[in-house]
């Protein structure tokens, strides 16, 4: 057992332990020196990134890997907490750690003159830990605990600018919605434990008979995790929270949101995998009904997100509504996959949906960083009193152009690759859905053209005369996202074959997910 093998074997636990350890070391480290604190945060996150990369190479090569907390081997009754790392969970972990590292680099200079930064970094690392925990865990109660930690920590982060009343209001709305939702998830977990006397996702999936109570649990899990991901009529907390939090915090809340989206995937594909095709309702199999429910909610959230984004004047709130529309695209792809389970274009839709998770994280992240840079330099939130920023904010304008083309799904950039896959496959399910998706993508382009004209072009405003370019670490963060957007745009197959296809296969054949645990006993 070489040293690397032992590291690999322990990596699922270390991926959670290191950021947690760093989170609680932060108050002590920041007593020494503030610059040391920033370096400490970046170093700890990149170590976690290395472990995730190490684990990714192994999981993509040899299939799911289990990690048992506190016990050597699988013994019945399965009481220990299990981590089951799958191709889809390691893909989401890569996105989370990428967002976290870039957000730390960004907040290096964005948060320079704020105080209370050791609590900021502690909460920051707690949200990263809980997002990673939600993605790696194989135990449904452990998923609930990480969901709650991410709720509490990100709510405290939304309220970071405590002197602004709106941030407090947004944080209070977020915590009330999340805690009511999480209590319903706990109710669903109680239902599972009552019937199957197990908390492990694989044993539950194996034993699930889709009784009356399981229907209730399925609905509660889909609705709550959909609300946490920002699905249609329950999306209203998202523009409030994204509009009023510091931009590096928004990146982290977005990774928690994508972890909830991963939760929906895990519930529908793995937990209810066996019963999706067998149980009948209105003489349709269950997967058609769930698929069309998700598609309906997705179309509503795309329409609401885009139409509301058009009339916004606050820049960050406008991107919040676009984020709701982008989550709608993801659920549209997942809904098509579930509705048309087993057909060829279903797997293409799943590839599009999973790739769109990565692309959306990069594009919306880039736009939030740009909005943060503008707020940092001009201290103005509303687009009405901005103008002519392109003159002295050259790099930010170039990054904004890349972000604009990417989020609207224009060809050379990464938004197009995943939206192209989604359009192609959704068209084969029902052409009208694809038409609505394309039109709304054009409306997103219109929204950001408005921002381009209002904020960047136009004459020089007198009060914005002495505007300087954003500091270097912000430009570095924006540069990373812009480079990633171009690379994924020009070489989609690189990411599609190595990361997205194994992740889609891991979701589709849920038997492998179950046998790694149930078979092992």
């Amino acid at each position: 057992m070489t040293f690397l093998d032992t590291l690999l074997q322990q990596s699922p636990a270390l991926i959670i332990a290191i950021p947690l350890f760093a989170a609680f070391l932060m108050p002590l480290v920041s007593r020494v020196h503030s610059k040391l604190r920033n370096i400490f945060a970046v170093v700890m996150l990149s170590i976690t990134g290395c472990f995730i990369g190490l684990l990714a190479t192994d999981v993509l090569a040899h299939g799911p890997r289990i990690y048992i907390f506190g016990g050597k081997d699988l013994t019945l009754p399965l009481v220990r907490i299990l981590f089951e790392v799958d191709a889809i969970s390691i893909f989401m972990a890569i996105i989370t750690i990428m967002l976290a590292i870039i957000a730390v680099i960004y907040s290096w200079s964005f948060m320079k003159e704020q105080d209370g930064l050791d609590k900021y970094y502690t909460l920051f690392l707690l949200v990263v830990t809980s997002a990673l925990g939600m993605e790696l865990t194989g135990d449904i109660f452990n998923f609930f605990v990480f969901l709650e930690i991410s709720c509490i920590a990100s709510c405290a982060l939304i309220a970071f600018w405590i002197y602004e009343g709106e941030a407090l209001e947004a944080a209070f709305k977020y915590i009330v919605i999340s805690s009511v939702g999480a209590l319903f998830v706990l109710f669903a977990i109680g239902i599972f434990y009552a019937q199957y006397n197990a908390l492990n996702i694989a044993t539950l999936a194996n034993a699930l008979q889709y009784t009356f109570l399981d229907k209730i649990a399925l609905i509660i899990l889909i609705v709550v995790l959909g609300m946490k991901a920002g699905l249609a009529p329950m999306h209203m907390w998202l523009p409030d929270a994204y509009g009023r939090a510091p931009p590096s915090v928004i990146l982290i809340i977005m990774s928690a949101t994508l972890a909830s989206f991963y939760g929906v995937l895990r519930v529908v594909f793995s937990l209810y995998g066996n019963v999706l095709t067998t149980s009948i309702r209105f003489n349709f199999p269950l997967h058609v009904i769930i698929g069309w429910v998700l598609i309906a909610l997705a179309i509503v959230s795309i329409l609401i997100g885009v139409i509301m984004a058009l009339i916004q004047s606050d820049f960050m709130r406008l991107i919040g509504y676009t984020a709701v529309a982008e989550v709608g695209y993801m659920f549209l792809a997942i809904g098509t996959t579930i509705a048309a389970l087993g057909t060829s274009y279903a797997t293409v839709a799943l590839h599009g949906g999973i790739l769109h998770v990565l692309n959306d994280a990069i594009d919306i992240g880039l736009l939030f960083l740009i909005a943060g840079a503008i707020y940092y330099v001009t201290k103005k939130r509303s687009l009405d009193d901005l103008g002519g920023l392109a003159r002295n904010m050259k790099f930010t304008t170039v990054f904004f152009l890349i972000g604009l083309l990417a989020v609207a799904g224009m060809p050379p950039l990464n938004g197009f690759t995943s939206k192209f896959l989604i359009y192609e496959s959704v068209f084969q399910l029902n052409p009208i859905l694809s038409i609505i998706a394309i039109l709304c993508s054009i409306l997103i382009l219109a929204v950001f053209i408005k921002v381009l004209y209002a904020a960047f072009l136009g004459p020089e405003l007198p009060e914005l005369k002495d505007v300087k370019e954003a500091p270097r670490s912000m430009l570095l963060a924006m540069g990373c996202f812009a480079a990633l957007a171009i690379i994924i745009g020009l070489f989609p197959n690189l990411f599609l074959d190595t990361l997205v296809k194994p992740a889609a296969d891991a979701l589709l054949n849920h038997a492998q997910y179950i046998t790694t645990i149930v078979g092992g006993i």
């Binding site: 032992t6 332990a17 609680f24 070391l25 108050p27 506190g70």
Partner: protein, 158 residues
């Protein structure tokens, strides 16, 4: 909260040590009797609430520094995670119970069936209980103090 009369203060003086000792007892015997880090910490924090009610928040604030509580809280959390990481070092498993069965601290394995409680059992569990206890005591102290401070705005004249 404003100060209370002399009688309440003397009663608080008598009661406070007993609540703290009772809370520490619950933390220490977490692996034997019902209780553990969180419940014991809550009992000790109720002692702090007792002091706040009896002596008023201004007096308590001069005695308990918020900075030191934050340090205690992170020390408790770091102790918990180091014990878990030591599980990897000694027994190749995160949260591994490397002390159980070894004749080191808390090492003896208890006999099955209804036996008398033996404090020296449970391996890593008591250590984790102590760490969680320290963290919860500091954490709940801070919550009680901040709530007292925020709700008595007129007393502080802010």
């Amino acid at each position: 909260m404003t100060e209370m009369t002399k009688i309440v203060k003397t009663l608080a003086n008598i009661l406070f040590p007993f609540t703290v000792i009772f809370g520490l007892y619950i933390i220490a015997h977490g692996h034997l009797t019902p209780g553990g880090g969180f419940q014991g910490g809550a009992v000790v924090a109720s002692g702090c609430a007792l002091l706040l009610v009896a002596y008023g928040s201004r007096w308590v604030f001069t005695r308990i520094k918020e900075k030191r509580l934050a340090a205690f809280e992170s020390i408790g959390a770091i102790a918990f995670i180091t014990v878990a990481l030591l599980g990897i070092v000694f027994s190749m498993m995160f949260f591994g119970n490397f002390l159980a069965g070894s004749n080191l601290l808390f090492g003896t394995t208890p006999a099955t069936g209804s036996t008398l409680a033996d404090f020296n059992t449970g391996g890593v569990l008591p250590l984790m209980n102590f760490a969680v206890g320290v963290k919860v005591i500091a954490g709940l102290f801070v919550i009680v103090l901040i709530m007292a401070y925020a709700s008595s705005a007129k007393e502080w004249g802010s």
